[in-house]
């Protein structure tokens, strides 16, 4: 068993608990144990806090990192926004002594110190990593292949970009997420402008909802044209934007899609035999039942 401190963030535990439950259960079946990271907070939201004062963003993210350092465990998480805060601040503070000293001055007030002794991973990259899990283990864990399901993969932004500072390779047309989706028996579909943003980030969802939804709408048009039965993503905030966003788009623009939106962990949970009730799919804004009838 590979053990990790499970950093939850906000939207997964507090809006889509199925993401949290499925992450814990699906990972255990492929040899990954997610341990609670007690006292963790918001990552904090990179759009909001990064825009207000980057120094606060560094210090707040560092506090979460120190909690995992104290556990002596690497962090695994399931949200691109959290990845931006937690992975990136860890990376910056490990490589910038001046900033680390500044942050540690603040952390000293609460008897904490950032040491830079752990690493941060997105659960999806652990699934893909042959040394930790790998595609074959994912394939072997599947009991109900989602055959016949056409899935549009949304990578999101803050996991892979900016490319130069990350380690995921190509950000114009990556295919590793599609490989994961194929491994659970579903059929990934290619669609126009696949790497476009969902529209929620940078505080734009809260600042100008119509502008934000217009970006989402463009993605939904492209996904529908490719014949997607469902959307899968790696980020609960993107999930919220596509899922609740479709309801808002219907109200504001009159466009109706009804494409269910499932986090990859939820999709993997279904393929591993978890029931829709185990995933709280009824909390989703878009009804998942027609999709479930088709695949299960």
């Amino acid at each position: 068993m590979h053990e990790y401190a499970f950093f939850l963030g906000c939207i997964a535990p507090n809006r889509y608990p199925g993401c949290e439950a499925s992450a814990i259960k699906t990972s255990e079946k492929v040899g990954i144990k997610l341990l609670p990271l007690k006292g963790a907070s918001c990552c904090p939201a990179p759009g909001a806090f990064g825009s207000i004062d980057l120094n606060v963003w560094y210090a707040m993210a560092a506090r979460n990192l120190v909690l995992a350092e104290e556990m002596k465990k690497d962090i695994a998480l399931i949200c691109n926004g959290c990845y931006k805060s937690i992975w990136e601040v860890n990376h910056i503070l490990k490589h910038n002594d001046e900033l680390r000293d500044q942050v540690n001055e603040v952390l000293a007030e609460i008897d904490m110190q950032f040491k830079g002794s752990i690493d941060v991973f997105h659960l999806a990259e652990l699934y893909y990593n042959e040394e930790i899990c790998g595609l074959q283990k994912i394939r072997d864990s599947v009991t109900t292949p989602l055959s016949g399901a056409k899935i549009a993969c949304h990578y999101g932004c803050h996991l892979m970009k900016p490319q130069k500072e990350r380690h995921f390779g190509d950000t114009e047309n990556p295919m590793w997420f599609e490989e994961l989706v194929s491994a659970i028996g579903a059929e990934p579909v290619q669609y126009r402008n696949k790497m476009q943003c969902c529209g929620a980030g940078g505080g734009v969802r809260g600042y100008d909802i119509v502008h934000s939804l217009d970006i989402t709408n463009e993605k939904l048009i492209n996904m529908r044209e490719a014949g997607a039965d469902a959307i899968t993503e790696l980020c609960p905030f993107c999930q919220l934007q596509f899922d609740r966003g479709q309801i808002e788009i219907k109200e504001k623009f009159g466009d109706v899609y009804n494409i269910p939106v499932l986090h990859f962990n939820e999709l993997l949970g279904l393929a591993q035999g978890m029931s829709p009730q185990d995933l709280a799919l009824d909390l989703h804004g878009i009804n998942c039942t027609p999709f479930l009838k088709k695949v299960l």
Binding site: P13, S51, I52, E109, G201, I215
Partner: protein
Amino acid sequence: MAAKTYNIPELDKKLADRRYHLSDSNPDFTKDVLKTSRTIANMCFQCGTCTGSCPSAPRSSYRIRLFMRRCVLGLENESLTDPDLWLCTTCYSCTDRCPRDIAPTDVIMAMRNLAFKRDIIPKNFLQTVQAIYKSGHGVPNNDVNRAARTKLGLDADPPTTHSYPEYIMGIQKILDHFGLKENADRILKGD
């Protein structure tokens, strides 16, 4: 082509005037942006790849290339008072495609930091600060969700600050160190 109007006479006049006035330039602004963004914004040669990659550009008057130019020219007021500053979704497409290896996204973030120092900030950003100060979460738990969590076999509250509120004081100390909550309250009250 008709120009967008913001109904702020001073700003509209500024935007209509395409000439560069030396008196509008603050060289320290360029330096401040470079320092906070930690990117070589001064190397921008205005190719426009950033704007061409931007998901916000086709649906608004937001032009990241314009902000890059303003940065190089030190046009502080024009940058920080332009409402378009807040339309960047921080998707980093421009950063990945910039042929000069600049991170325009981080230039925007730096400008937003500098705008906040002048109390220019949309409300929703400050409301997130208040939520985190109170509960540790930007998006806190609620009763519907607690019931759903229990049904899933999870604890009603996640093992975060929600289950361990004793950690919230540390978060408050960090935010107070920067005076962030106080500033958020003050700015929101003034609106």
